[in-house]
């Protein structure tokens, strides 16, 4: 046990070192018109985090992200449960949802903008159209793959519908719903960022695209790093949470 943990610690350190080396190598190859080297970037990111003007952008992105995630989660789980329990509706809807999942949703962005205008709700809507479908699909699959014996057992024990849901169904589908949420989390964040990149005056996505357009490589690299750290960190936390539950 301790040996395995020690090994994985070493593996983690080696992975990080290799990535930093690759980053430094990329800088050596592409030069500072494209990317800033790791330590400069970390220093600049630290300066950004200490500055007053940076936090409103973080706040704008997080606000839109939290709203979009809340809507995707509630709506996605509700829809997924319903489609999973109604077998026929689920069979009708599943391939359609899978097809919707594969369309390039950026192309819909103009429609979203025309419908919602250039403000917070367009970003939120864009996050939702990215995040909703994977959450529905995972929930649907979770409910459908439930062994029928669970529900029979619940009936045999004369559980009320509420007890059936809270004591039997919810714990059984939880691991798969958490994987769905993990993917939903990532793509919702992606959706919000894309929304900010295309038409917004605030937020991290705006900072990145602004950096790209004004050739502010330092800003782009630092914000990109912060975005990746946030995404990877949050994803790791959700993974650890899912593992602990199992």
């Amino acid at each position: 046990m301790t040996r395995g943990r020690y090994d994985s610690l070493i593996d983690g350190v080696v992975t990080v070192v290799v990535m930093l080396a690759a980053w430094q190598g990329l800088f050596a190859y592409a030069g500072d018109v494209a990317i800033t080297p790791p330590f400069t970037t970390i220093a600049y990111a630290a300066a950004l985090l200490g500055s007053e003007t940076f936090w409103p952008h973080v706040g704008a992105t997080l606000l839109a992200f939290v709203e979009a995630l809340a809507i995707s989660t509630v709506l996605g789980i509700a829809l997924g449960l319903w489609l999973g329990l109604r077998r026929f509706a689920g069979d009708v809807a599943e391939p359609m949802l899978a097809a919707l999942y594969t369309i390039p949703k950026v192309t819909l962005y103009p429609v979203i903008l025309l419908l919602f205008g250039l403000n917070l709700s367009a970003k939120v809507a864009f996050g939702v159209i990215h995040g909703l479908i994977p959450i529905v699909l995972f929930t649907l699959a979770a409910v459908r793959n439930l062994p029928p014996v669970y529900r029979r057992a619940a009936r045999a024990l004369h559980l009320t519908p509420w007890q059936t849901v809270t004591r039997v169904l919810a714990p059984a589908v939880m691991p798969e719903i958490i994987s769905g949420l993990r993917i939903g989390f990532a793509v919702t964040f992606l959706g919000v960022l894309i929304g900010e990149m295309f038409a917004s005056q605030r937020g991290l996505g705006f900072l990145v695209i602004n950096g790209i357009n004004s050739h502010n490589v330092r800003l782009t690299t630092a914000v990109t790093m912060l975005i990746i750290l946030f995404a990877v960190g949050a994803n790791g936390a959700l993974l650890a949470f899912a593992r602990r539950r199992n």
């Binding site: 593996d11 992975t15 026929f88 097809a99 919707l100 950026v106 192309t107 790209i212 990746i228």
Partner: protein, 253 residues
């Protein structure tokens, strides 16, 4: 009517109903025509652009980019996936990266890719490739993991050599997951390329939509949009049906 037929008909009814109600809502003037044009006009605009050859260049440009990104992603994803499968410790180290990969908005790397590859088609191909390659890699790992041990033993019993074992036993057994990976790789490379064109590039279908949006040409925008959506949905539908057939055949075998 069989259950499968009923499902198909219901699905068709849902689609037709949605399109029709959108048409009615637009025609009745409930939605500003500057916001949304009726679906029939979108289709007309699309057909007109296709017939006049106006968007042929864009289509060829986008499809070629997607095709290169997709092929590269499938090849590299398969080879790296197979290699990682043989190197368990390496795989354990890479695993958290793979699990978090899709949380990263890839196209923020576009300026970097331009600096590395130059201002040509390669950065966009790279975006499509980067979007698609982990899907193929994960599909390959999953497929190889799921090859039943008894099949590998059977290959040993029959004294198959390494190549025969791979081509006759391992690959056929891993096929469903490999196919799943290929399917996702195609979808993701398409999404990546279109998104890259839309936000950053200056050519292709994605750029055409963004350009039409910015110059308020609704018909041009919705015509292209419909074309992109139809291509994605039809391709996905074909692969879905193919996959279902593949799985059915395996179920019987």
């Amino acid at each position: 009517m069989s259950r499968a037929a009923k499902i198909l008909w219901t699905r068709a009814a849902v689609v037709v109903g949605a399109v029709l109600s959108l048409e009615i809502v637009c025609r009745a003037g409930l939605i500003n025509p500057l916001t949304l044009i009726p679906p029939s006009e979108m289709a007309a605009a699309m057909l007109q652009m296709l017939a006049s050859g106006e968007i042929n260049g864009d289509i060829a440009h986008t499809f070629l980019t997607v095709a290169m990104a997709f092929i590269a992603a499938v090849l590299v994803g398969f080879v790296v996936g197979a290699a990682l499968h043989e190197l368990p410790r390496m795989r354990r180290a890479v695993d958290p990266l793979l699990a978090s990969y899709y949380a990263i908005p890839i196209f923020v790397f576009y300026p970097l890719l331009v600096a590395v590859f130059g201002l040509n088609a390669l950065p966009l191909i790279a975006i499509g490739f980067l979007a698609a390659v982990p899907a193929m890699l994960i599909g390959t790992l999953l497929g190889l993991d799921r090859v039943p041990r008894v099949l590998r033993k059977a290959a040993k019993v029959h004294r198959l050599n390494r190549i025969e074992t791979v081509t006759r036993v391992v690959l056929p057994a891993a096929l469903p997951d490999l196919f799943g990976g290929i399917k996702l790789a195609l979808a993701y490379s398409f999404i990546g390329v279109i998104a890259g064109e839309f936000i950053l590039s200056s050519g292709g279908l994605g750029y055409g939509i963004a350009y039409a949006y910015e110059s308020f040409e609704n018909r041009a925008m919705y015509g292209r949009m419909l074309f992109v959506l139809l291509v994605a949905i039809i391709t996905n539908g074909i692969l879905y049906a193919w996959e279902a057939r593949l799985n059915r055949r395996r179920g019987r075998a």
